[in-house]
């Protein structure tokens, strides 16, 4: 075993004396699987919608036309590679687009799926924010005040806000950087550029 894993173990055992002594959380890895599932699901969802019509996909995400064309031409295996494990790639934003209202008012399965995905994302962020606010900020890119507000909400309140307002997905980083990693999914360089872009924000 290499040394960092041991450090984590050691710090963990020290933490069991009294959790309040050690303000550092050491379980960032616990969110990895959930974050990856969300990122991948959203990318695949926008790709599937773009397959029907690119303009429909553009209603739910804010990707440009050329980017969505690239996404359509990318194999699913490559999309699996570019979905992030440790940072959420999309944040939710309220939208009053009339087309969006039209889509959400039809009770199709696809639409219900979007709402449940959005709910899952907010639940995950609430969990992360309750655990440690700076980790939550790193993975979501939301401000501290927004996260505190979210941490204090109950399940019902979150469900209600999602029902009352329609949200769309907005990519957190820059689109051109994601496009780079999309066209060369094997390149560590392209992935690192898009990753740091996510961290830096727009």
């Amino acid at each position: 075993m290499s040394y960092p894993a041991k450090i984590i173990q050691m710090a963990g055992s020290a933490r069991s004396i009294n959790a309040s002594f050690m303000p550092v959380t050491l379980d960032e890895k616990t969110y990895n699987a959930d974050i990856y599932a969300l990122n991948y699901a959203i990318l695949l969802f926008s790709r599937n919608l773009a397959k029907i019509d690119i303009s429909i996909s553009q209603i739910f995400t804010q990707f440009s036309r050329s980017f969505l064309l690239n996404l359509l031409n990318t194999p699913v295996e490559d999309i699996k590679k570019i979905a992030n494990h440790s940072l959420l790639m999309f944040r939710l934003e309220k939208s009053n687009n009339s087309m969006l209202n039209y889509f959400f008012n039809t009770a199709s399965i696809e639409v219900r799926n979007i709402k449940s995905k959005q709910k899952l994302q907010l639940f995950l962020l609430r969990e992360a924010a309750r655990n440690d606010i700076s980790t939550a900020q790193l993975i979501s890119g939301l401000s501290v005040d927004e996260l505190i507000l979210l941490a204090n909400q109950s399940n019902d309140e979150i469900t209600k806000t999602l029902l009352d307002n329609h949200h769309i997905y907005v990519y957190r980083g820059t689109e051109s950087a994601l496009k780079q990693s999309l066209i060369m999914p094997e390149s560590n360089n392209a992935q690192m550029i898009s990753f740091t872009k996510l961290l830096l924000g727009k």
């Binding site: 050691m10 710090a11 303000p23 690239n70 440790s86 700076s134 790193l138 390149s187 360089n189 830096l200």
Partner: protein
């Protein structure tokens, strides 16, 4: 009052122990946590008795640490994560962020950054975490202090990809962006973009 003192000491002892394991010099540990040198000696002995491997002590200059492209890239990533965590923690504590950001060195955030950094390298970039492949916390701290003390070491933002990286004037390695200004990367990117453009036109 007695309790309060106990709390602070235990926390800083835990932090000191973690920092020693990450390979920081006793002087640096003392500066960051306020634990006396004799205590640090005892802690080091304790860690060795536990069988935990201590990373090699970092005392090199930035010029020598950034000798490979891998380390150069990894430091950029590390720096971005540190900056992100620093801003969230300081915002949360309602402290004014001192300018420039790299002169704010906090042991807690250092440990957190390193754990996050290792997690990200492992999860996103499939880099095996061994001593030689990954940049050390001690090395990163050395470069950070060098940036704030030396005039010939500074941070710049790449005009093409927008990622921050460090320039060490005495080094040939660190004269250009480690991400996008690599010959093979550029050639590959141009080639694939051309293929994509042709496919779009067809």
């Amino acid at each position: 009052m007695k309790n309060l003192i106990m709390k602070v000491t235990t926390e800083s002892l835990l932090q000191a122990k973690t920092l020693i394991t990450f390979g920081l010099r006793p002087q640096q540990v003392k500066m960051l946590t306020g634990v006396t040198e004799s205590r640090i000696g005892g802690l080091t002995k304790e860690i060795i008795d536990d069988g935990t491997k201590i990373a090699t002590k970092g005392s090199l200059s930035a010029n020598k640490i950034l000798r490979t492209k891998n380390h150069f890239r990894q430091f950029s990533l590390w720096m971005t994560i540190y900056k992100a965590i620093l801003s969230s923690e300081y915002d949360f504590q309602r402290k004014a962020l001192k300018t420039p950001w790299y002169s704010n060195i906090d042991s807690n955030i250092l440990i957190k950054t390193q754990i996050m950094f290792l997690n990200i390298l492992d999860a996103e970039f499939n880099i095996e975490i061994t001593e030689t492949a990954v940049i050390d916390l001690a090395e990163c701290l050395n470069i950070l202090t060098e940036i704030s003390t030396k005039e010939s070491t500074y941070i710049v933002t790449c005009p093409d990809c927008g990622v921050d990286y460090v320039i060490v004037e005495s080094s040939k390695q660190t004269d250009n962006c480690p991400f996008c200004h690599e010959r093979s990367y550029e050639a590959e990117r141009n080639r694939i973009e051309l293929i994509f453009d042709n496919r779009m036109k067809a």
